[in-house]
């Protein structure tokens, strides 16, 4: 029995992770508890030294002094302000009028506005809520089918995940030890493909089920000519300004992603002031939400680090690596397996839990197989995007439920989402078999960022003197 436990510590610990998490106590503490529990056995059986947990202090210090993680509060704050500042209203109203005469025009408008909002902010909630509040009543009024309306809004809201400056990509870059700039560059191609896929689907719907997506009737097109153009500009110019402030400064190398997030947040405050929606309660609410989300996410990271420290200590890394690298089918087999795994696990875990727990387990194996980690990260990002959409646990669907009128049935929201989940799966398949769609946009003249994951402790030797003074500068 003792031999069995000692020899299979890593698999047992993984099983323990599943059991502890399923109990339903906050994930941060469950994760840490799995770590502690198995550290106790590990020390008992001599798998790890008795002072092993002392490594935790370095892990903690690595978390709090990590510049990239600072992007989490900044982008969240920006999203919280944008959600309520009236930018989405302006955009949807004008672009809706612009595309209105076409069949499915409002759907295209939602997709484009989703993409624009996605290029400004990095959080899904902001897009889905802002667009849902405005578009649902309009689309229903002009005879769009409920299911299509729900699907297109939820899906367009989640594009934010993939389009730079996505928060998901920042966190994935950190976990994979790659530069955020490259990660963003890699996501450009897939974002374009995704928008194209969505538009293609709307076009198909408008041919096959024209009644679902009627063109706007003449009396609904209140604006035309100059006034319409002016109104469009009112929405588009500030958006372009914000996009430059955030994305432009990153790509030009003027600011780190973290600073760009901060500038974006300040920019959205300015925009809210310009729109006369900047009030003290709005700002305070935004700050409070941001603080709670940041604390929650970083606590999960603390728990995840405790878990993975011990997991690696008892040989989990080797176990996972041999298991994953010996999958049949080589690289493609690995990718297919990993994507199906992430797709399924995304039903139960939210994005941050996947990024902090699952990704560190997968990344070394991917690296060993010679897979470009940028490509891998973007792929995982596109995949995780579905987790916001799949019924019944997708966050985007929750947001939509919370703002949709009571006449909309929950089952309509679920059924409406399904075609769009398929579109996202198609995107993942395209990315697997056509890696150039990701790598094409990455500037290969730049030297590869040498600072691999800064916080893997060298577990073979006892307590190495890690230098955590300051992480090397990142782009």
């Amino acid at each position: 029995m003792i031999h069995f436990v000692r020899d299979n510590m890593a698999p047992l610990m993984f099983a323990g992770l599943v059991v502890f998490m399923l109990i339903g106590y906050p994930a941060a503490f469950s994760l840490a508890a799995v770590g502690l529990f198995f550290a106790f056995f590990g020390i008992q059986y001599g798998l790890i030294g008795s002072d092993f947990l002392g490594n935790l202090t370095y892990q903690l210090y690595g978390i709090i002094s990590n510049d990239l993680l600072l992007a989490i509060p900044f982008f969240t704050f920006m999203g919280a302000i944008l959600e309520r500042c009236g930018l989405a209203e302006d955009l949807l109203d004008s672009i809706g009028q612009l595309f209105g005469p076409v069949r499915g025009g409002l759907s295209y408008a939602v997709i484009f506005v989703g993409a624009i909002l996605g290029a400004i902010t990095g959080t899904v909630a902001a897009s889905v809520i802002a667009m849902g509040v405005i578009s649902v009543p309009v689309m229903m009024k002009y005879g769009y089918s409920t299911r299509h309306t729900m699907g297109v809004i939820a899906a367009s809201g989640t594009i934010t995940q993939l389009i730079p400056p996505s928060l998901v990509l920042v966190v994935l870059a950190d976990q994979l030890g790659r530069s955020v700039g490259d990660m963003y560059a890699g996501a450009i191609g897939p974002s374009i493909i995704q928008v194209a896929l969505f538009c293609a689907w709307v076009a198909i719907v408008s041919v096959v089920w024209p009644k679902d997506v009627p063109a706007l009737p003449l009396e609904a097109r209140t604006l035309s000519g100059w006034p319409l153009l002016r109104k469009s500009m009112r929405g588009i110019i500030p958006s372009l300004g914000l996009i430059f402030l955030v994305l432009g400064t990153i790509f030009l190398g003027l600011a780190t992603p973290t600073e760009a997030g901060a500038m974006g947040a300040v920019g959205s405050l300015a925009l809210a002031a310009f729109n006369r929606t900047l009030t003290r309660p709005l700002v305070y609410q935004g700050m409070a939400t941001t603080m709670r989300i940041t604390a929650m996410v970083v606590y999960i990271l603390i728990g995840a680090r405790t878990f993975s420290l011990v997991f690696q200590g008892v040989g989990g890394k080797v176990w996972i690596e041999t298991m994953l690298t010996s999958l049949p089918g080589g690289t493609v087999g690995f990718l297919v397996f990993v994507n199906i795994f992430v797709f399924v696990i995304a039903f139960f875990l939210d994005f941050f839990e996947i990024a902090f727990i699952i990704i560190p387990l997968l990344a070394p194996a991917a690296d060993k197989l010679g897979i470009d980690l940028i490509w891998f990260g973007v792929l995982i990002c596109a995949n995780i995007q579905t987790s916001f959409m799949h019924p019944p646990f997708g966050f985007a669907l929750f947001y939509l439920r919370s703002i949709a009128p009571p006449s909309v049935k929950t089952s309509d929201i679920y059924w409406g989402a399904i075609p769009w989940v398929f579109l996202q799966v198609i995107l993942v398949v395209i990315l697997i078999f056509w890696p150039q769609s990701v790598t094409y946009w990455i500037d290969h003249t730049k030297s590869v960022n040498p600072d691999l994951k800064i916080d893997i402790p060298q577990l073979d030797s006892p307590l190495p003197p890690l230098d955590f003074s300051d992480p090397p500068a990142r782009k």
């Binding site: 502890f20 998490m21 399923l22 109990i23 339903g24 106590y25 906050p26 994930a27 941060a28 503490f29 469950s30 840490a32 508890a33 502690l36 947990l53 002392g54 935790l56 202090t57 709090i64 002094s65 990590n66 510049d67 600072l70 509060p73 704050f77 959080t123 909630a125 400064t249 003027l254 973290t258 600073e259 760009a260 997030g261 901060a262 500038m263 947040a265 300040v266 700002v283 700050m287 409070a288 939400t289 941001t290 603080m291 709670r292 989300i293 940041t294 604390a295 929650m296 606590y299 999960i300 405790t306 139960f348 939210d350 941050f352 839990e353 966050f395 929750f398 947001y399 003074s469 300051d470």
Partner: protein
Amino acid sequence: MDALLRFTRAIDSMNERFGVIATWLVLLACLLSAGNAAVRYGINEFLVLGQDFAFLHALTTGIGWYGNHANAFLEAQWYMFTGMVLLGGPYTLKVNEHVRVDLFYGMVSERTRTWIDLIGTILFLLPICVILIYFTWPWFLESWRIGEQSSNAGGLTRWPVKLLLPVGFALMALQGVSELIKRCAALTGRYRLEYAYEKPLQ
């Protein structure tokens, strides 16, 4: 039991205050970080201009001073981040917004949930807080004893941020005790839980 509930109210209001501090740190960190980026980018233009215009002298002096302390400002960003997380974490626990895997939790009755929270606090939250305090406290003491400075020129003193770690976990442990008492009181019908579990926004 009444004395215990009074005790929880004291803890709750204390952590609420720390939560307010953490909340303001969001805005402060944001402004500081945006300011850092803006100044760093604009710094050379100003210095060149300053040579030609005497009235800009004060400004260039100011920028020179900033330049000497730039690392302090950069480090202040993540000090604030640390504050956000460690001072805000306990408040987040109080309002029940630490995310859960609610596959099972979402299906069971209110009473079972209270039991899960009760046992989870004793077996998961409190031990991990104790362990983390145990490891981080001597670390802070050492930093305090040697007056550890940042390794960057003009950086900040290190002990305050190292102090935040054990303090944050102690506050979390206290909030855990408060939640524990409230759950016990709720099970015996002497207290109504204020924050029912709902899916967090993200």
